[in-house]
């Protein structure tokens, strides 16, 4: 893989001739008489190009498949986080009529008429509910107001639709609702992305905090980060000594201990979560044992709360901490520690100043690996956590699968993705990306 021959040879033909023998048996026997280095270099460059083409054509199938099933879908997530087609598609005349509106005064009769026509049409086509739901994201209560108007619009006969609508519901005379329609009818919107970090754009003040009752997403994100950070910390506290013990024991024991780490690593995530569900219940094994021991006569609440989430997540992610730590510690010579001790360092200070710094690459890799994986955790908190322990991933699932709010699901995913993207370069510097190097 690291054969740089191709590059070096093309740059210096003389060198090419020297290296030629080692490169191709068939070529060197066929062209034994050719001595001109530049001819050889030319042939070599051609062969090199052919090899490159073969290589690329071997990679191409996987590349194309991944582009289709991974690359483009990820781009679609980015797209859906700003995509906003509903209102402009379902209320096209209103969108057109309000294109030039500056939002300073209530729109004129024309906009009301356009809205009435759109609503009548959309009511018949049964699409109005989706537009109404979309408008409700802008101002709570807009949905019922739109649905009511759409139901009654046929019966509004007055000379002025504007007056009729306002008579039907006086909120139609409130400029805020028309501004909301105008906002919602843009083809692309930053509102989902802003909402994902508890911000919103208002007509006159620019960026402001979202309303109090909608300010929930940052709390979810900080909870997610906090849970992940605690899990990382616990994994270091338990994983570091384990990795150290494995790396410093005799080779025969090393193999056994290493397999003891690999067994949970290979066991299905769901099986391990199931084990904790069984163990941690109020009538579960741990509580039964504690009561039997007489430590307590009331069962401890250990499941459907934060405790259960930490226990199960640390259990699942601990091997991801131990494996990179072990692979680094394995290559650290014990001579350094002995040298430090012989120079008078106390064991603890020798550990801090000699051993610990050498394990930083493994430690960093393990921490970031565990952190990034736990950011996306969904199944385990769903099964052993309570309502307040759900992480951002469950919110994404709820938006995508529950309420079919693709924009919000995509926006939250983008926020998580940006956080991971910010973390990843650090991980890469420490670990070089070979997390699968298990042996």
């Amino acid at each position: 893989m690291r054969r740089r021959g191709g590059f070096a040879l093309r740059r210096s033909p003389g060198h090419a001739a020297l290296c030629w023998g080692g490169f191709g048996i068939s070529a060197s026997s066929r062209h034994a008489q050719t001595t001109d280095p530049s001819v050889l270099a030319g042939k070599l460059a051609r062969g090199d190009r052919a090899r490159k083409l073969t290589a690329l054509s071997l990679i191409a199938p996987l590349f194309l498949l991944l582009v289709c099933v991974f690359g483009v879908p990820i781009l679609a997530v980015l797209y859906y986080s700003v995509d906003n087609p509903l209102v402009s598609r379902i209320l096209p005349q209103t969108t057109a009529a309000m294109a030039e509106w500056d939002g300073q005064a209530l729109p004129g009769e024309a906009a009301f008429e356009a809205f009435a026509a759109d609503a009548k049409h959309a009511y018949k086509a049964k699409t109005i509910a989706r537009a109404a739901l979309r408008l409700n994201y802008e101002i709570a209560g807009f949905r019922s107001m739109t649905m009511k108007a759409a139901r009654r619009i046929k019966r509004l006969t007055g000379p002025s639709i504007k007056e009729d609508l306002i008579a039907l519901d006086k909120r139609w005379g409130d400029i805020a609702y028309w501004r909301a329609i105008k906002d919602a009818s843009a083809s692309y919107t930053p509102r989902y992305l802003l909402a994902a970090v508890d911000l919103k754009m208002t007509w006159d003040q620019g960026l402001v905090q979202a309303e109090e009752n909608r300010r929930i997403y940052l709390a979810y994100l900080t909870e997610t980060f906090w849970i992940s950070a605690v899990v990382v910390f616990l994994c270091v506290v338990i994983g570091y000594p384990i990795a150290y013990l494995i790396a410093t024991s005799k080779p025969a024991n090393q193999r056994i201990l290493f397999i003891l780490i690999l067994i949970p690593f290979w066991t299905s995530l769901l099986v391990r979560t199931a084990a904790w569900v069984v163990l941690l219940q109020n009538q579960g094994m741990i509580n039964g044992f504690l009561i039997w021991l007489g430590i307590t006569d009331q069962p401890f609440e250990m499941i459907f709360n934060r405790f259960g989430v930490y226990v199960a997540m640390v259990h699942i992610l601990l091997p991801f901490m131990v494996l990179p730590l072990y692979s680094v510690m394995k290559s650290i010579s014990t001579d350094y520690m002995r040298a430090a001790a012989s120079l008078g360092a106390r064991p603890f200070s020798a550990f801090l100043s000699i051993y610990l710094p050498q394990t930083i690459p493994g430690l960093g890799a393990g921490c970031l690996l565990v952190f990034v994986i736990s950011l996306g955790f969904y199944i385990t908190p769903a099964l052993v956590g309570g309502r307040s322990d759900q992480m951002v991933a469950s919110l994404i699932a709820e938006f995508a699968l529950g309420t079919a709010n693709w924009g919000m699901a995509a926006a939250l995913a983008v926020v998580v993705l940006v956080c991971v993207a910010a973390i990843y370069p650090i991980y890469h510097r420490f670990a070089g990306g070979d997390r699968m190097n298990l042996n």
Binding site: I25, S268, L270, Y378, V420
Partner: protein
């Protein structure tokens, strides 16, 4: 790492302390899955000791065609198809990656293994959007494609690692003796890198077989896989049949792990 005879008190405390923490850590890692296993042989419905009586009733229930037989069948279909696609394409790509140097290779490798570094829930959401657009939500093909994206990086990484020590001049030797490239690949390269390819395949299989998040997003009721059935049962009806399934899955994964270990040794020795 034995303690020297003249160890200070501090060293002794550290020595003992390290072992206590490690013992706790190992117990914590291994005990939960082991300690629940006997409950699967209980004749009662409680998930606790003591067992009223031993029985195989829960295993009998698990072997019924519905729901576990159906789930197992789905999981096998999806995992096998994923394994075949991922192993073939991943091996070809790994071979291509090691046979020549070209510009942007680092970026290309980064892209090929990027499904590993994106949080699973985002990959699942992306697959959900894409499959919904092309009408493949709730189909086996859709689930297989989504799982293939997750599984190929493992194949690429394991096969590339095996190919690091591979001497490409052997292929040229074969070609100089008249083998065409395809012939040379099957008769020279593949036998030599087979352990790596097989461990990649096992990784791909396990990735798909254990996968739950993507399955939750893109699978319909017709694609209920084992993990999905486990997830549903864990939420709705907790009884020892879940533990029977868990026990069977754990035994299976330990067998697969042993297989990987053997393959790795063969790779290291040969």
């Amino acid at each position: 790492m034995a303690l020297p005879a003249n160890a200070t008190l501090g060293q002794q405390v550290g020595y003992v302390g390290l072992r206590v923490i490690c013992a706790f850590g190992f117990l914590f890692l291994l005990l939960p899955t082991l300690i629940i296993m006997p409950i699967s042989f209980s004749s009662g419905t409680f998930l606790n000791y003591p067992l009223p009586c031993l029985s195989l009733r829960w295993y009998e229930q698990v072997l019924q065609p519905h729901p576990w037989g159906f789930a197992f069948e789905n999981s096998m279909i999806v995992a096998c198809a994923t394994t075949v696609i991922a192993t073939v394409l991943g091996t070809l790509a790994a071979y291509g990656l090691t046979m020549a140097q070209f510009r942007f290779k680092g970026l290309l490798v980064g892209f090929l293994i990027s499904p590993l570094v994106v949080p699973l829930v985002i990959t699942a959401l992306a697959a959900y959007f894409a499959l919904a657009k092309v009408g493949l939500l709730g189909t086996h093909i859709g689930l297989i494609l989504a799982h293939t994206a997750l599984a190929t990086p493992f194949v690429v990484i394991t096969v590339t690692a095996t190919l690091q020590g591979f001497d490409h001049t052997m292929v040229r030797a074969a070609e100089s003796l008249g083998a065409n490239p395809i012939n040379a690949f099957f008769s020279v390269t593949l036998p030599l890198i087979l352990p790596g390819v097989l461990s990649g395949a096992v990784f791909a299989f396990v990735t798909s077989f254990d996968e739950i998040v993507v399955a939750l997003f893109v699978a319909g009721p017709g694609q209920f896989t084992m993990p999905r059935q486990l997830f549903a049962d864990l939420r709705d009806q907790l009884n020892p049949s879940i533990i029977a399934v868990a026990t069977l899955l754990t035994v299976a994964s330990i067998c697969l792990m042993a297989l990987i270990e053997i393959l790795q040794r063969r790779k290291d020795n040969g």
